[in-house]
């Protein structure tokens, strides 16, 4: 499904190809308007790539070999060694899970067969959302709706620009709208101080406001807004250092807005009890929906986290942190978090998958147990794994599919022919077959 056309421009080698409509798997937004050129020196992002995309696609991944105990071996030997380790393991832990849909499907099948535990490396962030979903639910929107419909964006304690460098460009400062030939400017409100506002510029940006509380006190501001909307305003002069007048004024704007979008990124809410902030946002959104419309939009979802959560849910019923040790899916979101298991001395083998960036290495604490690492070459490893198998990056080295952060749209990932590295799904399937 790739669109191949010869690259134009001076000094470009004749056998280059420009590939368009490339989907980028290096953050949860999965932008798919990238243009990439491949030549002898590798991939080059020529259009629409942010710094994460460039880092992800242009990285060199050649030369890595499978290893057993630090020695180069051929792939079959490595697979055999991994199979033996899993066969002998009483409780294998399947972590990282930085892979595509087919990779997660293969992990789930293998975890089921081998009686293991499944958890994604970034699930601590994800659970700031999952716990709210499981307790109270929410009203949410998706990227295209926000892009066309929002008249106001409220950024809740999250540095969106850092996590998703093209969010403001693609979703906020867009030229066209389905609902107006002359779309109005949109206001952007930052809840929390010190958040990078540099991306908030351009034709569509109207007022930019900041209610600069400490990030970990944003929940108090949200609760105060809810109280205003509910008609039971707080009898306080300040909330988290913000003057009550500012909060009242914002509440008025929210009431008057036709489609305010509350945006947060769970990984950014890196303080204790952040799930309560998400819960407060969900409550505020619900309050606003009594009379008007308002919605939430949760971002994040990097390193294949969304695909992992979704596939785990539809195949086992549970969004990660599930153990198959008893033969049935056993869910415990506290116990079966892999960092907790390692800390509690549970689990005797770590099988780690990380195919997108070199940053998703196993935690240092994982040194307690032997590990099998299926990793993109250059993956940062604190400990030497018993077995290391270099794998391809979906979307660069092999084709695949990935679910986007808003949990509805999924996209095909192209094989850009960067390196001939195996798919995690194939390695895991080979192990499962041999067990």
């Amino acid at each position: 499904m790739s669109n191949w056309s010869p690259a134009q421009g001076p000094g470009v080698p004749p056998k280059s190809n420009a590939i368009t409509d490339v989907a980028c798997p290096f953050c949860g937004l999965v932008c798919d308007d990238l243009e990439i050129v491949r030549d002898e020196s590798g991939l080059h992002v020529t259009k629409n790539g942010c710094e994460k995309a460039i880092a992800g696609f242009e990285r060199k991944v050649d030369g890595a070999k499978p290893q057993v105990d630090g020695r180069d071996v051929d792939l079959e030997t490595a697979i055999r060694a991994a199979t033996e380790l899993i066969r002998k393991s009483a409780l294998p832990l399947y972590g990282g899970l930085g892979t595509d849909v087919d990779g997660i499907r293969a992990v789930m099948a293998l975890a089921d067969k081998s009686g293991g535990v499944v958890d994604h490396a970034l699930s601590e962030g994800q659970y700031r959302n999952f716990r709210v979903l499981q307790t109270t639910g929410w009203i949410m929107t998706t990227l295209t709706e926000a892009r066309n419909r929002a008249d106001m964006f409220i950024v809740v304690g999250s540095d969106l620009h850092k996590l998703h460098p093209r969010f403001y460009e693609r979703i906020v400062n867009v030229e066209a709208s389905l609902f107006s030939d002359t779309p109005a400017k949109r206001s952007v409100v930052f809840l929390g101080k010190g958040l990078d506002q540099s991306g908030v510029k351009g034709q569509r940006i109207g007022e930019v406001l900041t209610l600069g509380s400490d990030l970990d006190r944003v929940g108090e501001v949200i609760a105060a807004l809810s109280a205003e909307i509910r008609g039971a305003p707080m009898a306080a002069e300040t909330v988290a250092g913000i003057a009550i007048g500012e909060i009242r004024a914002l509440a008025e704007r929210l009431r008057a807005a036709s489609y305010p979008v509350f945006v947060w990124a769970p990984p950014s809410l890196a303080f204790p009890n952040a799930d309560l902030v998400v819960s407060a946002v969900s409550d505020l959104v619900k309050e606003l929906n009594v009379k008007g419309r308002a919605v939430g939009l949760a971002l994040g979802g990097n390193e294949g986290a969304i695909s992992a959560g979704a596939v785990s849910s539809w195949q086992s019923g549970y969004p990660l942190r599930v153990s198959f040790a008893s033969g049935k899916p056993d869910y415990d979101f506290l116990r079966y978090a892999i960092p907790n298991m390692l800390a509690n001395g549970e689990g005797d083998l770590l099988v780690w998958i990380a195919s997108f960036t070199p940053d998703l290495g196993p935690p240092a604490a994982a040194g307690k147990v032997p590990s099998i690492v299926l990793g993109t070459p250059g993956l940062k490893l604190a400990n030497t794994p018993r077995v290391y198998i270099p794998i391809g990056t979906p979307g660069a080295d092999h084709a695949g599919r990935i679910i986007r952060v808003d949990n509805v749209v999924s996209l095909p990932l192209k094989n850009l022919g960067r390196a001939s590295l195996p798919r995690a799904a194939d390695i895991l399937a080979a192990i499962e077959l041999a067990l």
Partner: protein, 562 residues
């Protein structure tokens, strides 16, 4: 391999066979005519009068797509206690209100079903719908793609675009989403809710686009007919769950202008406002009108008492229903200028007047609509009840005294508000066979399924003729899929993948320019990444490589009428 099924009592309504004892032969996955005498039989099943039907087909069950998975994520406590253990053959899973995908496939097969269709696939979510269906083994599947609330369509309708433009768009969408048919959910209403409209009746305008549900229904109904797609436009109508909804339902039926329509889970749209509780049954009037309107078919969406989870594209009405949420947590979404969804757990209680009457209304509709070819047995899984209640529902339809016994346990005022007790009708096995196989196959255009004539795919279910019809339909003796034994005594003995059915009406490729332009200007994904390829479904589902494996089946489409 030639298989002989000897001496079964065959119910094959598409071929007019009503309980005749006869032999059936299958070879290479298909039913074949009786071979010449002396032909070597490789395997024989002596059935001794046991009941033989084609594999059952569920034409409306939420088995694939994001909102079902939201339901799974929302209710971990509902899964607990209902986990399913892995075996050498089967994956582990869980199953109560919203079973996991593998368990869903196994359970359907164990109940004698060989096909089920996802009725509400969002174009934006089509890839995921096919992935989830790909992880649902055993049964054939397919999906109906949702149109009528997407901004592209509404703009075209409001802008009075040429009808051929709209037909091309419908057909294009069916190809791009790999769909079997087209669904409308709350026509114009999901869109209206995004603009803060809270209700939308049949002749009320969507405030932004100025078009009515009636306009949308007639446009899509005519479009589907002229495209030659076998299944009529599949409509989740106005006013889901609203007291008084019977009136828009009656108007929708009578306003069809002779076009084929299928009204789905009509039970949820059959309420009057009579009585102290301002909630009454509209089933008798609706059934009477349906009996006179041969171009309209229905499925019921029967509720059963117990905990379930409603999952629907109808964000407007599901938001309205959140006050009845049990437990009190739910999700509503606006989705991709395409559709929406609402996932609201629901506990139907026999002691609740409203729930008890809903139960009775569904049964009234089943029993008062006379033509079993126009009515399909569904609980709108999981909205009315999980699909594994079908055997219980069959018994209610076939056994009047059992039905009335159940009725007597309900809220007394609900008993007084229904005419159910007075309805003598009991469904026959032939009628059940129509409603659960022959009718859906015919309506969906599954040319070689739902029957046992020569040439049909050998999807065959064999039951004990048990007077307890619930026990009978719960535990088939044998289930064959393409001539292979997959279930014995209600337990899976072999895992198979099942095919995916699609229908591909013709369209002028010029439409792609307009759609591509729309995607480029307004969307957050490109057209070529939005569309789902056949190869992807093969990769998801059967995993066959190299060449055509036949696991994506394009059912025939009629010629396009201009």
């Amino acid at each position: 391999m030639l298989i002989k099924f000897t001496g079964g009592t065959v119910y094959d309504p598409l071929n007019g066979v009503d309980g005749e004892v006869r032999d059936i032969y299958a070879q290479d996955g298909r039913i074949v005519a009786t071979p010449p005498p002396g032909t070597k039989i490789d395997a024989e099943y002596a059935l001794g009068g046991r009941v033989v039907m084609a594999g059952a087909i569920d034409p409306h069950s939420h088995i694939g797509g994001g909102k079902v998975t939201i339901g799974r994520m929302l209710l971990p406590e509902d899964h607990q206690g209902h986990e399913v253990e892995r075996t050498a053959l089967l994956r582990s899973g869980c199953g109560h209100a919203v079973p996991s995908t593998m368990t869903t496939g196994y359970r359907y097969a164990e109940m004698g079903y060989t096909a089920a269709f996802e009725p509400a696939m969002l174009p934006a979510n089509a890839r995921q719908a096919h992935l989830e269906m790909g992880d649902t083994p055993m049964i054939d599947k397919g999906a109906f793609v949702m149109l009528g609330n997407d901004d592209f369509f509404l703009r075209a309708l409001a802008g009075k675009k040429d009808f051929s433009f709209i037909k091309d768009y419908i057909a294009f969408t069916m190809h791009a989403a790999q769909a079997m048919a087209v669904k409308i959910v709350n026509p114009g209403g999901i869109s209206a809710f995004k603009f803060n409209q809270r209700a939308l009746d049949l002749d009320e305008k969507n405030e932004f686009y100025g078009v009515t549900p009636r306009d949308i229904i007639l446009t899509l109904a005519r479009g589907m007919k002229e495209l030659g797609v076998p299944h009529p436009i599949h409509i989740h109508g106005c006013n889901l769950g609203v007291p008084g909804s019977m009136h828009s339902t009656l108007k929708t039926i009578s306003g069809a202008e002779g076009l084929p329509l299928h009204l789905t889970h009509i039970q949820f749209h059959s309420y009057g406002t009579e009585g102290d509780m301002h909630f009454s049954s509209g089933a008798p009037q609706i059934a009477e009108l349906l009996n006179r309107t041969p171009n309209v078919s229905i499925d019921i969406g029967q509720i059963m008492f117990g905990q379930t989870c409603t999952a629907s594209g109808d964000s407007m009405r599901q938001y309205g229903n959140t006050k009845s949420s049990n437990p009190k947590k739910w999700v509503v979404m606006d989705i991709e200028c395409d559709n929406g969804c609402g996932v609201v757990p629901m506990k139907y209680r026999d002691k609740s007047y409203v729930n008890a009457l809903q139960w009775a209304i569904g049964l009234e509709l089943f029993l008062l609509v006379r033509d079993p070819w126009r009515i399909f047995l569904t609980t709108d899984h999981p909205n009315g009840a999980p699909f594994y209640y079908y055997p219980h529902l069959i018994r209610l339809l076939m056994d009047r005294s059992f039905r009335n016994e159940r009725l007597e346990t309900l809220h007394p005022a609900a008993q007084a508000a229904t005419i159910l007790k007075s309805i003598d009708r009991e469904y026959s096995l032939y009628e059940i066979a129509i409603m659960t196989r022959a009718g859906p196959a015919k309506s969906l255009g599954l040319r070689d399924r739902g029957h046992l004539g020569a040439g049909a795919i050998a999807d065959i279910t064999i039951y004990e003729d048990n007077a307890d019809r619930e026990a009978m339909f719960k535990t088939p003796l044998f289930v064959f899929k393409s001539g292979e034994l997959i279930v014995r005594n209600g337990r899976v003995v072999k895992v198979v993948a099942g095919a995916t059915h699609v229908v591909r009406p013709d369209y002028d490729p010029g439409i792609e320019r307009a759609v591509r332009d729309y995607f480029d200007r307004y969307h957050t994904v490109h057209l070529d990444n939005f569309r789902v390829s056949e190869q992807e479904i093969v990769d998801s589902n059967c995993g066959h490589t190299g060449g055509e494996c036949g696991c994506v089946i394009a059912q025939p489409c009629g010629p396009r009428a201009s």
